[in-house]
């Protein structure tokens, strides 16, 4: 967040918690909607809130990519398929009840306990950067360059492999969805 006045920090905290609470509420609403299109739009809502959290944590470029690529492109692909298959029709709900629901909730609570325990692990001090180092880097180099430099230098080969993977996914999608080649 850079060098901000104390009241700026308070505002940032308020925005952070507002976005966090609405992301979690949106996620709960998302998994309980019967209509897949409603579910999908609530997931887009969660993604917008997550991009607010990204901005507050020095990931400005990722916040933009989150909205453009994730909420914009990937979710529209889902929307196309839902509309193509016309599965928003009224009918019995697909949400499990009884034993299935109990198992889901118990497994969820176990998972949550595990993740919370894991998040209490202290990071080794030798790995940590000094406080505010990333904010300063983003301020000096700009939000895009700070991410682009490691992406195209240190992670160049993984980046190139990613493009091969995308090509494979493209071919795979065509082969799978086509009626006859």
């Amino acid at each position: 967040m850079g060098p901000v006045r104390p009241e700026g920090r308070v505002v940032a905290l308020i925005v952070f918690w507002a976005a966090a609470v609405s992301a979690i509420v949106g996620a709960v609403v998302c998994i309980t909607r019967k209509n897949p299109i409603a579910s999908l739009l609530w997931l887009v809502y969660v993604m917008f809130n997550l991009s607010i959290l990204f901005v507050l944590q020095d990931a400005h470029f990722l916040a933009a990519v989150q909205i453009l690529v994730y909420a914009g492109a990937i979710m529209v692909l889902f929307l196309f398929v839902i509309m193509l298959l016309n599965i928003g029709r009224p009918g019995p709900s697909d949400i499990k009840s009884g034993r299935g629901a109990v198992i889901a909730v118990v497994a969820g609570l176990l998972m949550l306990a595990e993740l919370v325990a894991l998040s209490q692990v202290e990071l080794p001090a030798s790995m940590s950067l000094p406080a505010g180092a990333v904010s300063r880097m983003v301020e000096q180099q700009g939000a895009v360059e700070a991410v682009a430099t490691p992406l195209f230098q240190q992670y160049l080969i993984p980046f190139e492999i990613t493009s091969v993977m995308l090509l494979a996914a493209l071919d795979g999608a065509v082969v799978l969805a086509k009626r006859k080649l």
Binding site: V81, P158, T162
Partner: protein, 98 residues
């Protein structure tokens, strides 16, 4: 300063996504829940990258790319299944059950 809360929120979102996967029968909504879990992991990466360096933010790019590839292939599979069975309800799809 925001690290602890971010990890907590990310844990909650991941759990909600997992409960969604276990709770639903519609293949597309299960897929949406997987996307929610991927998003939760991205939040962890971003939160930790403030302390451990920008490599975490680079990894979010890779996660997004894998998510895009997974969405394309997965949705193609769902279309093929729908053509075969006329439904996306996973209880009705039991071709591999012996």
């Amino acid at each position: 300063m925001l690290l602890g809360p971010s990890l907590l929120i990310s844990a909650l979102l991941f759990t909600i996504g997992m409960v969604g996967v276990l709770l639903r029968r519609n293949a597309i909504i299960i897929f949406l829940c997987v996307e929610l879990m991927l998003n939760a992991v991205n939040l962890t990466f971003v939160a930790l990258s403030r302390q451990l360096g920008l490599d975490g933010q680079v990894f979010v790019f890779f996660v997004m790319t894998v998510a895009a590839a997974e969405a394309a292939v997965g949705l193609a599979i769902i279309i093929a299944l729908y053509r075969h069975k006329d439904t996306v309800n996973l209880d009705a799809i039991n071709l591999l059950r012996g």
